[in-house]
């Protein structure tokens, strides 16, 4: 009988040599005359252990990692095909301490199944939410999503059900479902992992959204920086069409839903929903003035659902197990679970899906293992380049939309980037302004000009020119950007800047011998 070995095809696992490891295992098996079937899964999200190789044994899956090509011969000698001991053996994958305490609802299948196998997806409960939705009225589906308490996971945290209700209630001959997969925030990779590890879940979620609001066409707006996800999504969509999970007569019903992936072109601003719609229509990704809301007048002027990958991928679970099951996780007004992404300077960075209410400290130390460098952690940035920096004295803050808002931070898409005590927060604030200048769509002045002026003010600070006056100037600039920008890019760049000044003021005023202004990377 053939032994099944899993080697991830997740982009980050490939970035650490998973492809070469898969080839080495196949070659070694052939050389030794052993019958091995290599299956390609997504990543379990234990990235410090990638490439993580798993072997299917009668006792369940046993993990080894991080495996490099030079370890392969030794693994065979040790008998890893029967789950035997080896220095890299991590024991039963499902029992791993990093995984066993997680609440993997949305990520239940990621890293477990072959992402493009429909039979794998079905065997693990796939398409049951859709089956249920097909037997419901549109308003019932919307109600179920509303009752679950799901809020937009892209960062805005707007209740998904309410958005859907608006689209459902707006009469039109054509409506659209669009998925925002322009995951540009540094420190976030949950969308990528999900699309590469369980693409049918996203397809199922979008199809349910279509049934709920009466849409027949969907687009996944995927960033061009994700070629691996692009390939996997296209493979999955083609297979879904073949087996009537997409297209006309969905699962034998009278419904139709067509789905297509459209590529972005390296513009961070296109993660903003109206800018994304402009881009999908083939224009410059400039922000639209709201109202009208996209739910009323969105893509090509038609009512449009715009949801993040994770929001849509959570919907099948809600339909399958019921709104109450999902809502019972979490605290306060933050219901359900959040796939949290640990990144930056941590010993054990990876994906941690947990009910809302876990503390930053638990995430950074219990899961993350503290800094990778061994130095004390000094700051974390939550929610991407527009998120606030928090110092160590705020590490007891809970992961909860309202709790973070209370300390002047925001959750965004759930990415947490950790920095050790070598970080220079004035440089990070400068980078935030520089990033805004590079990525500004240019439509409104506070963002377009304010960000450039921001870089200049911080450069003067770094040169030690009248620090207190520059800090006052910076604060006034932040005020203009926050109050006067059309969208979140200019409006939220003050979050990292102001928080850096508030918590790490000494970094802005310290003497810097021999400093020179650094040049912009992009004109």
């Amino acid at each position: 009988m053939s032994t099944v070995v899993y080697v991830p095809r997740d982009a980050a696992a490939l970035a650490l040599g998973a492809e070469q490891v898969a080839q080495a295992i196949a070659a070694q098996a052939q050389k030794s005359g052993l019958d091995v079937t290599i299956r390609r899964n997504g990543s379990r999200g234990l990235y410090w252990l990638e490439p993580l190789v798993e072997v299917e044994t009668p006792q369940g899956r046993v993990a080894y990692g991080p495996v490099s090509v030079k370890d392969v011969a030794g693994l065979f000698t040790a008998g890893f095909l029967s789950g035997k001991a080896h220095a890299l053996c991590l024991g039963a994958t499902a029992q791993h301490p990093y995984l066993i305490r997680q609440n993997r609802l949305t990520f239940a299948r990621v890293g477990v199944i072959d992402p493009v196998s429909i039979s794998d997806y079905l065997a693990h409960g796939g398409f049951q939410g859709l089956q249920r939705a097909l037997g419901m009225e549109p308003a019932q589906i919307v109600q179920c999503v509303t009752d679950s308490g799901l809020r937009g996971r892209g960062g805005a945290a707007f209740p998904t059900g309410i958005k859907w209700r608006t689209v459902l209630d707006t009469a039109a001959t054509q409506k659209y479902i669009t998925c925002n997969a322009d995951e540009g925030d540094s420190g976030t990779y949950a969308d990528r992992m999900l699309m590469e590890g369980d693409p049918y879940l996203l397809i199922e979620g979008m199809t349910i959204a279509a049934l709920a609001v009466g849409a027949t066409q969907g687009y996944i707006y995927l960033r061009a920086e994700y070629p691996h996800a692009h390939k996997i999504l296209n493979e999955a969509i083609a297979l879904a069409y073949q087996q009537h999970y997409l297209g006309a007569q969905l699962l034998g019903s009278a419904h139709r839903f067509d789905l297509e992936v459209r590529l972005g072109a390296g513009a961070y601003i296109c993660g903003e929903e109206t800018s994304m719609l402009e881009s999908l229509e083939g224009r410059r990704g400039e922000v639209r003035v709201r109202p009208p809301l996209p739910a009323v007048k969105g893509l090509f002027g038609k009512p449009t659902v715009v949801n993040n990958v994770i929001s849509l991928a959570t919907v099948p679970t809600i339909l399958q197990h019921g709104a109450a099951h999902y809502r019972d996780y979490g605290i306060g007004r933050s219901r359900g679970t959040l796939p949290i992404q640990l990144a930056g300077n941590l010993k054990r960075p990876g994906l941690v899906e947990l009910a809302f209410g876990v503390s930053l400290r638990e995430l950074l130390y219990d899961y993350g293992g503290g800094s990778a460098s061994g130095r004390p952690l000094r700051a974390v940035q939550i929610g991407g380049p527009l998120g606030a920096y928090l110092p160590a004295q705020q590490f007891d803050t809970l992961i909860d939309y309202e709790a973070l808002s209370a300390v002047g931070a925001l959750l965004g898409h759930g990415g947490i980037v950790a920095f050790d005590d070598t970080v220079d927060m004035a440089h990070m604030a400068r980078y935030a302004m520089e990033f805004c200048a590079v990525e500004s769509c240019g439509k409104c002045t506070p963002c377009r000009i304010g960000s450039t002026r921001g870089v200049e003010v911080i450069d003067r600070l770094l040169r030690g020119v009248d620090g207190e006056a520059q800090l006052r100037q910076l604060e006034s600039l932040c005020d203009t950007m926050a109050e006067g920008s059309l969208c979140g890019l200019g409006g939220m760049t003050p979050f990292p800047v102001r928080s850096a000044v508030k918590y790490f003021r000494e970094d802005f005023l310290k003497p810097r011998p021999g400093i020179q202004g650094s040049q912009h990377a992009r004109a």
């Binding site: 982009a11 410090w48 990876g350 980078y431």
Partner: protein, 152 residues
């Protein structure tokens, strides 16, 4: 070249909101968006040249000139900065003798900044052509850059 562009426009022009699709197809085929392509695309899609130029110039991904044989993208975002990514930026520029958005004189390598590759759990990250590399050490970057210069 004109024929190739016209073929792409004819193939994709009927799609809803086709301009980005067309530009991606042109860049996939030619490696960049030649300025001569702009009037052809404009005419084929019934847009003004200004509209097409405006889109090409808005998106960082679209190139205005032919790239080197290899494109090296170094992540500049926060997670990579937290893991010494800034040193890699400088190292790459030194090693290749060029700045960001430039191509080596032998046409081997184009160097570009990128703002997040989604590999933040294995920072610092570098993408070479379509291949992603994680936990890149200075020694590994030198090795990868040297490979780029050797391979044709």
């Amino acid at each position: 070249m004109n024929d190739r562009i016209n073929t792409i426009v004819a193939r994709l022009g009927q799609q809803p909101g086709p301009l980005l699709l067309v530009l991606h197809a042109i860049q996939d085929e030619l490696g960049f968006i030649p300025s001569d392509a702009i009037p052809l695309v404009a005419q084929g899609l019934n847009l003004s040249r200004a509209e097409v130029h405006g889109v090409v110039s808005f998106y960082h991904y679209f190139r205005h000139s032919p790239p080197g044989r290899h494109t090296v993208r170094i992540c500049r975002a926060e997670s990579c900065q937290a893991m010494n990514g800034t040193a890699l930026e400088q190292q790459a520029q030194r090693h290749l003798g060029i700045g960001f958005n430039e191509t080596t004189s032998d046409g081997a390598v184009s160097l570009e900044p990128v703002y997040c590759l989604g590999a933040c759990a294995c920072s610092p990250a570098v993408m070479i052509n379509d291949e992603l590399h994680g936990r890149v050490t200075p020694a590994r970057l030198d090795e990868l850059l040297a490979q780029c210069r050797e391979r044709t």
